[in-house]
Amino acid sequence: MSSPTATTVAVGEPVAAAAPPRRPRRQRGGRGVKRSGLAPLLLLSPAGLVIIALTIVPIGYLIWMSFTDAGQRMLFTGEYDVVGLQQYRDILTDPSFWKSFARTVGFTAAMVGGSVLLGMGVAQLIGKVGRVMRLALTFVLICAWAMPNVASSMVWGWLFQPGYGVGNWLLTQTHLFGDVTDTNWADRPGLAFVCIWMLIVWQAVPFVALTLHAAQSQVDPAYYEAARMDGASEWRVYWTITVHFLRPTLLLVTILSIIWDFNVFNQIWLISKGGPDGATSTLGVYAYRNAFVSFHFGVGSAIAVVTTLLLLGLTAFYVRSLVRTGEEL
C-alpha cells in the first residue's frame, strides 16, 4: 500500500508528496502575478493612506510627546514644556519598571503558550469530531468570543469572589482543595495570576482556534488521504501536514498573541489592580499607574515607546522569520 519513496518524501516535503500535479516550488526566482508595475501601488495606497494618516501620524505625535511634559494642560491650554530625555531617564532607572518588564515577559509567555496550544488543540478537535459536535464547538467558541468584556470580567469576578464565588463553590464541592469558599484569588500572588491567566486564555482561544481552523480547512484533503494511505499515524499526519501548512498562520497567531498579551491591561486591572503588592503589576499596569490615571501623556508616551521597543527587540526573531516565511511561500 505504501511505497517507501512516497513515505520518505511525505516526511520532508508533504506537499510535493501528496500533490503530484504540483511542481516543486523553490526553483523560480520571481513569484506572484507580476513583478512590478503600478498594480501593487494602487492596491496598497488606500490602506496605506488610512494607516499613515490615522496610525503613523498619531504615533509620530506620541513619540514627540514623549519628549515633553504634555498633560491635560497641553490639551486645555496648549501649554507644555520640552523636557528632552528626562522621562526616558526616569523610566529606565526606575527599578519597578524593570520588575514589571520581567513579570510581563513571564506572563506573556504563559498566556501565549496557553492560548496557542489550546487553540491548536481545539482547531484540531473541530476537524476530528462529528457534525453535531463541530457545530457545538464553533457555537461555544463564538459565544465566548461574543461575550462583551464588561460581562466577562464581571462574571469572572463572580466566579472567584470570596464568600459567594461560583468557582470557589464548585472547587469546594470537589473536596480536592478543602473549603476554599472564602479564598480571595485576587489577594494571593499565585492565585491572582492564575485567575488572570484563565480569563485571558478563555478569551483568546476562540480567535486562535477559529483562525487556525479556517487555515487548516484550506489544506487539500488529498494530502491527508495520501498520508493516511501511507499508513501515517494521526500524530504524524498532524505534525507533517497540518502543522506544516499552518506554519505561517501559526506564526502569525503566535506573534499577535504575544503583542496582545504583552500589552494586556484591562483584565489585570479588573481582577487584581496589579496587586497584591505589585505581584501582577505588568507594564500595562505600570503605565496606567504612572501616567494614565493622572493624564501625564508625556510620561505615558515615553513608557509606550520604551515598551514597544522592548517588545520589538524580544520579537525580532519572530518578526524576521514571519516575514521570511511569507517570502518563501
Partner: protein, 475 residues
C-alpha cells in the same frame, strides 16, 4: 486630507489666557510655548502643523458681565453634561425651565456614563465644541481645575453661593489655591443602615449612641444569628475605604495635610494608627472573613453590601440613602418599618465624621457662553432647586441652611443622613488626588489593614510614601 483643518483648530489652539499655569514649582527658565508652534516636525499630509487659528475663549471674548441676573441669551443654547443615575430628567427639566425663563436661552442635556469619564471629560474640554457645564465628582474637580480645563469662577462666587454656606466636602475640593472652579451640585452621605426587626429579635430596642453600645448590640446580634452560615452582624468590606477613613478621622487623623506647598501623608500619625487599629478590630470582629479584602462594589467584585443585606445575611451596613430603596426593591419583604439608620458612633464619643460624596458643576474654560453657563449653575445651586426637586430625589442639599430646611420635613429613616452631612469631610484638595483613588492604592491600603496582610504601621508607611510622592508630583 488636510483640507478641513482650518475649521478645526481644536485642541491645540493657544489656550485661554484666563486659566494661567498653576504650576507651583513654576520653573521660570523652562520655555513654555504652544503645542502648535513646535508641532512635531512631522510635516505630514495631515493637519497637525496647522496654525491654531485662535478660537479660544478669552475672558474678553465671552463678554463677561459681572451681574449674572442681567445675562440674557435668547436664541442661544448651552450644553450641560450630567452623569447617569444622578439628577433625574425631571430635576434637570426643572432647572432648565427656570434657566430658559430667566435668560431666554435653551439647554441641551447630555447624560454621560461613568466608565472612563475622566478621559471623556479631558478630551471634551480640549475641543472647541466643548460642553458649557459639566458635572464632576467632587474629588475629581482638582484634576481639571489645576490644568486649565475649567473656568475660574471666583469672581462670581458670592452670586453663585446665594448667601448660603456650602458644605465643605463639596466646596473644599472645588477650591484650588484659593480659587473656585466648581459649584456644589448635590451631596450624598453614608450612615449605618440596620435591620430593626433582626435587632428586635436579638433584644435590642433602641439605636446605639455610643461605640460601646454599638459593639454590645452587635454581640447580641451575633449570639442570636451567628450560627447561620455566612451571617455577619455588621457587613463591612475591608476595601471599603470611604468607611475606613471615618475611623481615621474619628481618631483625629487625616489622609494628608498641606504644609506650605508640600503635601504630607498622615496615616503614620499616632491618631491615624489608633483609628486604623480600631477599624481592623471592628471589621474582624463583626464582618465575614471573606469581606476583609473586597469592596462593596466594583466590576471585579460584584459583592454588594445591599444585596447581602437584602438577603438577610447581615444586620447592618454603612450605606447611602439610595441603598434603602434598593434593599426594599431587592427584597420586598423588607419595608421602611424593618429598617433604621443611625450615625456611626465613634470611639471618640462623637459620631464618626463621614466622607461626603456628591458632585460639583464646572464651567468649561473653552465655553463660549460662560455667562449663561454660570447662570445655569447658579439656578442649579439655588435654594429652590436644592430643597425642591434635588432633595425630593433623595440627595442632600449643598448648604447647611438648606439641610436644616429639608431635614425638618424628612422622614425618620433619613434623618441620620442630614446629621452626617453636617459632620462630613472630604479627600485632600490636591490636583493629583485622583491618582490615589484611580490607581487603587487607597483601597489596597485599607484591605491590607483589615486582612492583616500588613500591620497598620507597615501599611501606613508604604501608603504615606505613595501619597507624598504622588500628591507632590507637579510634572
Amino acid at each position: 486630507m488636510g483640507r478641513r483643518h482650518h475649521e478645526f483648530p481644536g485642541a491645540t489652539a493657544p489656550g485661554p489666557t484666563r486659566a494661567p499655569r498653576e504650576n507651583t514649582q513654576g520653573d521660570t527658565l523652562r520655555k513654555t510655548r504652544t503645542l502648535v508652534a513646535g508641532a512635531l516636525g512631522i510635516a505630514t499630509a495631515v493637519a497637525l502643523t496647522a496654525c491654531g487659528s485662535g478660537s479660544s475663549s478669552d475672558a474678553s471674548d465671552s463678554g463677561k458681565s459681572n451681574d449674572l441676573s442681567a445675562v440674557k441669551g435668547a436664541g442661544k443654547t448651552i450644553t450641560v453634561w450630567n452623569m447617569q443615575g444622578d439628577l433625574s430628567d425631571d430635576t434637570m427639566k426643572a432647572i432648565n425651565d427656570e434657566f430658559t425663563k430667566e435668560t431666554g436661552a435653551q439647554v441641551k442635556v447630555q447624560t454621560q456614563q461613568w466608565a472612563d469619564i475622566a478621559t471623556k471629560v479631558t478630551t471634551a474640554l480640549a475641543t472647541d465644541g466643548t460642553p458649557d457645564v459639566v458635572e464632576l465628582g467632587n474629588t475629581d474637580v482638582p484634576l481639571f481645575a489645576n490644568s486649565g480645563g475649567l473656568a475660574d469662577l471666583t469672581d462670581a462666587k458670592s452670586q453663585l453661593q446665594q448667601g448660603g454656606t456650602w458644605l465643605d466636602g463639596l466646596a473644599g475640593p472645588a477650591t484650588v489655591d484659593g480659587k473656585l472652579y466648581g459649584v456644589p451640585a448635590f451631596a450624598a452621605t453614608r450612615t449605618v443602615i440596620y435591620n430593626k426587626s433582626m435587632w428586635d429579635q436579638a433584644g435590642i430596642t433602641a439605636a446605639p449612641t455610643t461605640y460601646d453600645e454599638l459593639t454590645a448590640d452587635l454581640d447580641k446580634v451575633k449570639a442570636k444569628f451567628g450560627s447561620q452560615k455566612d451571617f455577619s452582624p455588621f457587613y463591612l468590606p475591608g476595601r471599603y475605604w470611604y468607611d475606613g477613613l471615618q475611623w481615621v478621622w474619628d481618631a483625629g487623623g487625616d489622609i494628608a495635610t498641606k504644609d506650605g506647598d508640600t503635601w504630607k501623608g498622615g496615616l503614620e500619625s499616632s491618631e491615624a494608627q489608633q483609628g486604623l487599629n480600631d477599624f481592623k478590630t471592628f471589621q474582624n470582629a463583626y464582618s465575614t472573613k471573606a469581606s476583609a479584602t473586597i469592596n462593596t462594589t466594583g466590576t471585579g467584585q460584584p459583592d454588594q453590601d445591599k444585596d447581602i443585606f437584602a438577603a438577610g445575611k447581615t444586620s447592618a451596613v454603612v450605606g447611602n440613602a439610595w441603598e434603602i430603596g434598593v434593599i426594599e426593591q431587592d427584597n420586598p419583604k423588607i419595608t421602611d418599618a424593618d429598617l433604621g439608620t443611625f450615625p456611626f458612633p465613634g470611639k471618640s464619643g462623637k459620631a464618626q465624621p463621614v466622607m461626603l460624596a456628591g458632585s460639583d458643576w464646572g464651567v468649561a474654560a473653552k465655553s463660549k457662553n460662560q455667562d449663561l453657563a454660570e447662570v445655569w449653575v447658579k439656578i442649579a445651586a439655588s435654594e429652590a432647586m436644592q430643597t425642591g426637586p434635588i432633595a425630593k430625589q433623595g440627595w442632600i442639599p449643598v448648604t447647611t441652611e438648606e439641610i436644616g430646611t429639608v431635614k425638618g420635613t424628612a422622614d425618620a429613616l433619613h434623618q441620620a443622613y442630614f446629621d452626617a452631612a453636617m459632620n462630613s469631610k472630604s479627600t485632600p484638595a490636591a490636583a493629583n488626588w485622583a491618582t490615589i483613588e484611580g490607581d487603587g492604592a487607597v483601597e489596597q491600603f485599607f484591605a491590607d489593614v483589615a486582612s492583616g496582610a500588613k500591620s497598620p504601621a507597615d501599611a501606613a508607611k508604604g501608603f504615606d510614601d505613595h501619597l507624598n510622592q504622588v500628591l507632590n508630583n507637579n510634572g
